[in-house]
């Protein structure tokens, strides 16, 4: 076992005292304290920012999950195994209504957060409520579509194309549904606990989640429905 501690530290000190130039060239930037220490990007951020940022990173990872389903859809799109093609199953009017509902819900969700920011409980709840209803309409329409398609025999088991279709659209729908569950929980929390810090942090996250789902939906209706209809 070696002799600890620190022969090195001591030798360094002695050398440095004896001949400061021996220290060699020091690349490590200015030695004096940098002004603004504790501000800007140094020093821990506030909890609010940490939570928001962490959730943002989570959303990125969620988007990557979606991108896998997009890639799978793109690859499997032509593999219809003799079953229906995308052109056979799109129903643009329904897609338009779904899009409208989700877009509006994104809008009302944002307004609810504006109300939160102004610490207005009533309007926060009202807009969250509207968001929930619009989300429900969206999920309902999607379910209706799936049921209708399944009734025509176009189930995900029918072909790889339908597998890709149901998985992509369904994955989004599932996210919206889970978002709805979260939304309901949040409304209850806001009602019972008011605008505590944690509640506001969660509302920030929920807001981000809901907007992100709308962005994903833009991808879905463009790539699946519109391109399908145009194909």
């Amino acid at each position: 076992m070696s002799d600890l501690p620190f022969p090195i530290a001591r030798e360094a000190v002695l050398r440095r005292r004896a001949d400061p130039d021996l220290a060699g060239h020091d690349p490590h930037g200015p030695k004096e304290a940098v002004p603004g220490t504790g501000h800007g990007d140094s020093g821990p951020a506030s909890k609010r920012i940490i939570v928001g940022y962490g959730f943002w990173i989570f959303l990125l990872s969620d988007i990557i999950v979606f991108s896998c389903f997009f890639a799978a859809y793109a690859v499997l799109q032509g593999s219809t195994a003799g079953g229906p093609t995308i052109k056979d199953i799109v129903d643009l009017p329904r897609t338009a209504i779904e899009t409208g509902a989700l877009l509006l819900s994104s809008f009302t969700c944002g307004l609810s957060y504006a109300a939160t920011n102004a610490r207005n409980k009533l309007w926060t709840q009202v807009f969250l409520g509207i968001t929930a209803i619009l989300g429900l309409i969206f999920v309902g329409l999607e379910l209706q579509e799936f049921i209708e398609l399944a009734g025509r025999g176009a189930t995900p088991q029918r072909s790889a194309f339908l597998t890709g279709f149901y998985a992509l659209v369904g994955c989004h729908g599932l996210h919206v549904s889970v978002g709805g569950l979260w939304l309901a929980t949040m409304m209850a929390q806001v009602q019972l606990k008011g605008f505590r810090h944690e509640i506001i942090h969660r509302l920030i996250c929920f807001n981000l989640f809901w907007h992100a789902l709308d962005i994903v939906w833009v991808g879905v209706f463009s790539v699946v429905y519109l391109m399908g209809a145009a194909a």
Binding site: A12, P27, H28
Partner: protein, 304 residues
């Protein structure tokens, strides 16, 4: 003293070459019997040597450095703050960049020149062989000769062989180490591979992709014979034996392993096509009471 290091280097190179030849003698990928394998192996060895040229000095430098600046060596200079040198940095980035530039060129040219789908230049037209990987054996169909074999491949020397490869069940990889490049056998896909054997001999062929319980037995014999012997073999095979039709294929597609080589004297010429395009459905996998297998899948709890 200064003479020592170069000597060490050459000795290491020598050792490597020795090892390479040793493994070569044992009949591995470094002992190719044809042009594809030879090119592959040459690229492998070239790349190794070039990188060793960088890597061995690097390793020596590391150990020299550690030894020279060991704490007990107080004679060595001590630069407790020295941590940057633009010149060293530049060299340090440049060495791997240059090496990789060369390797990159090798990759580029090699990939195109040795693309397995590319026909080999040759005066004699290629012999066609259709390969189907099954659970757990290989079926080789010779459409031009009208025969087929299981777990045994016969190829004429000095003639390119064009393999069209598909799978009747799961993924496998068709690989004859001494002939060179391997390629996947996949259901619903037809991959292609041109190989050629220039020396006579009996080679080992195998699957290089795990395909289930019988995988270890998915190897086959490859006989590299003269053109005349090849024709004679084809004639002899045609003379007698079973016919490879749909029924025979269905029998083959069932799971079985360690199948002794045998031949079909006649073939249904549409078989390969039907398998590749999945007009014949892919093999059904383990059957509850299948021979030699499957019982164990029952450790799932039985009542599936």
């Amino acid at each position: 003293m200064p003479a020592r290091r170069p000597f060490g280097l050459t000795r290491l190179f020598g050792a490597f070459v020795l090892a390479a030849t040793l493994t070569g003698c044992a009949g591995g990928v470094l002992d190719p019997v044809g042009p594809v394998g030879a090119n592959d192996a040459e690229i492998l060895i070239d790349a190794t040597l070039i990188m060793l040229g960088i890597v061995i000095p690097t390793i020596l430098l590391a150990f020299w450095m550690a030894w020279r600046y060991r704490a007990s060596n107080t004679k060595a200079e001590y630069l407790p703050n020295w941590s940057y040198s633009g010149r060293i940095e530049a060299v340090v980035w440049a060495i791997p960049i240059l090496t990789i530039t060369f390797i990159g060129g090798l990759i580029w040219i090699g990939s195109f020149k040795l693309d397995p789908f590319k026909p080999l230049p040759s005066k004699t037209p290629a012999v066609e062989v259709q390969v189907v990987s099954l659970d757990w054996k290989w079926l080789f169909i010779y459409p031009q000769q009208g025969v087929a074999t299981v777990n045994e491949l016969v190829v004429p020397q000095g003639t390119p062989v064009h393999f069209s490869i598909t799978s009747g069940s799961v993924f496998n990889v068709f690989f004859v180490p001494r002939m060179g490049s391997m390629i996947y056998a996949m259901p619903g896909m037809v991959s292609q591979l041109y190989l050629q054997a220039d020396k006579p001999g009996e080679l080992m062929g195998e699957s290089a992709h795990f395909s289930g319980d019988g995988f270890s037995d998915m190897n086959f014999k490859v006989h590299s014979v003269s053109a005349a012997e090849f024709d004679a073999w084809a004639q002899k095979t045609k003379a007698g034996g079973a016919m490879l039709d749909r029924a025979a294929y269905a029998q083959l597609a069932r799971q079985s392993s360690n199948v002794k080589p045998y031949a079909y004297s006649a073939i249904d010429p549409t078989i390969f096509q039907a398998v590749a395009s999945q007009k014949i459905a892919p093999a059904p996998g383990p059957q509850p009471a299948g021979p030699g297998h499957a019982g164990r899948e029952v450790s799932t709890g039985g009542n599936r």
